[in-house]
Amino acid sequence: MKNKTLLVLNILATVCCIGLGYKFLLKPLMAETIYATEYKQLMFQCDNVMRDHMIAKNRVKHEKTAEAIHDLKASELGLVSCHEYDKLRKVMLAWGLTAEELSYIGLEAIEENANDLIQYVETHEFKY
């Protein structure tokens, strides 16, 4: 009887460990592996429409023409493209990635071209 209880407890503990490991380690890792590239692309696209919107807004401040106002309205509608980015962000959060981890992936996306810079410096000799 005692052995049976211990066995059940062991199984329960193992299941719990596997469950916790899956939830806090494996699932976030899987989310990062599966979605990180797509997340970076969507972030770039969202950033792009947000920048366009800001530029259109600033343009209206400098020239209140019908064309500038029309472009601003179009760029406001364009922000809808960020919905895909928002959706994926929520999916990744649901898979257990923290907001800080998502920010880090975002930072990697923003500074992705820094690798080009390092490569460039490593392969070029500059003449002074």
């Binding site: 696209q45 950033d47 530029i55 600033n58 400098h62 500074e111 820094a114 390092i118 070029h124 500059f126």
Partner: protein, 403 residues
């Protein structure tokens, strides 16, 4: 007349007409150079606070000017690298050493090419940084300080900025985060902390500065430190005598290649439409579709340039025309340091696509590049030049070098 003597005379006449023509071209070039604002180094040098330069030199080279980042002005403005740092984008805090070594050691990247300091303290030099975030040349003074500019001397105001730039000289610690504001009043606490840092670590220089300024050490302000640094920059990085100055003012000759290069620079190339005035910059802002290297000030490989300072869409992708003094010593070139040869920098003005491998770009990157290209000012100003003509312009630019 003997046939040989006749040939001899023809040769003499031909040769003299050639020499005369060269001299004539020299005369033309000389007058065009003067017409376009050339001034001698003596005329350009001003330094009201020259007596503070020795202390300024100590602060310029002191890592304690950085509140928490172990970096000084001299880390990126290195004399052996033409007062720049020799790398495409500046290497800020968290790095070791200088230049290439610093960048590869994991320093935080400041996504712009370090501008050389030659002549930045000259008379009438009033627009600083690639995006002109200190601009005393416009009708309305532009600076991050709004109406509370720390000094009416643009160089002294410019010295105030790098020391409060996160990544450049500041680590984003709790103190910095608490005082992160883009205004002079917001930055005051950081300036006070920097002065305190210097009072602790550069005691001798602070003591001398206080005595020269006739104030108590406790009354030293960052403005005094910045004034001394500006005095050092003016003295150390002043424009010195060049071969071009000797040509214009002392009537010395240029080589044939330099002379022809000069005629292209002021003529067919129309380089002078932007590189004019005593510093070979009109200090205005233009789009030259240089390749972008690094992640750019706006991230994702984008740098909106002047727009980041004015928020006026007309300023998108525009950068301040750089000076051309000592150009051969300040490689790499452009706002992101993406070209390493002067020849390529010249070519970027009239044939930017020749420097870009468009197949390496993603769809969206390509789209961004078209936007950049569509705003290009340079191709409308600079004419097509052959490779030989580019080489001649480079020869001419060499006459602006000095030790």
């Amino acid at each position: 007349m003997n046939l040989n003597i006749r040939y001899y005379f023809i040769f003499i006449i031909f040769f003299s007409s050639f020499v005369y023509a060269e001299k004539g071209l020299g005369k033309i070039l000389r007058s065009v150079i003067i017409e376009n604002g050339f001034k001698s180094p003596e005329y350009m040098y001003i330094n009201e606070h020259e007596n503070l330069a020795p202390e300024g030199e100590i602060f310029f080279k002191s890592n304690h000017l950085s509140l928490n980042g172990s970096i000084s002005c001299a880390t990126c403005h290195i004399p052996s690298k033409g007062s720049s740092d020799g790398i495409p984008n500046a290497a800020g805090v968290r790095g070791l050493g200088e230049g290439r070594e610093r960048l590869l050691s994991g320093a935080k990247i400041v996504p712009r090419n370090t501008l050389a300091l030659w002549g930045v303290g000259s008379k009438d030099f009033n627009t600083f940084f690639w995006d002109g975030r200190v601009d005393f040349g416009s009708i309305k003074i532009i600076s991050q300080f709004g109406s509370q500019i720390p000094s009416h001397d643009p160089l002294i105001t410019a010295v105030h900025l790098p020391v409060v730039e996160i990544r450049e000289t500041l680590e984003e610690d709790d103190f910095v985060l608490a005082h992160k504001q883009e205004s002079l009043s917001g930055a005051k606490s950081v300036y006070k902390a920097i002065v305190k840092n210097l009072i602790t670590h550069e005691q001798e220089a602070i003591k001398n500065l206080a005595s020269k300024m006739g104030v108590e050490i406790k009354d030293i302000k960052f403005l005094d430190i910045a004034t001394s640094i500006a005095a050092f920059i003016r003295a150390e990085f002043k424009i010195k005598n060049t071969r071009l100055n000797n040509f214009v003012k002392r009537k010395e000759e240029l080589t044939k290649k330099e002379l022809r290069g000069g005629l292209i620079f002021y003529g067919k190339g129309n380089c002078i439409s932007c590189h004019s005035g005593p510093n070979f910059t009109n200090q205005k802002f233009y789009t030259v579709a240089f390749p972008q290297l690094g992640f750019g000030k706006n991230g994702f490989g984008i740098d909106y340039g002047r727009y980041n300072a004015t928020f006026n869409p007309k300023d998108l992708y525009k950068f301040r025309t750089p000076s051309l003094y000592n150009l051969s010593k300040t490689s790499p070139y452009s706002h992101s340091g993406s070209v390493s040869k002067i020849e390529d920098a010249v070519r970027a003005h009239y044939d930017p696509l020749s420097l870009i491998k468009i197949s390496d770009y993603s769809d969206l990157q390509r789209h961004q590049f078209y936007k950049y290209l569509a705003r290009n000012d340079a191709v409308n100003k600079v004419n097509f030049l052959t490779q030989d003509e580019v080489d001649l312009v480079v020869e001419f630019l060499g006459t602006l070098d000095f030790d």
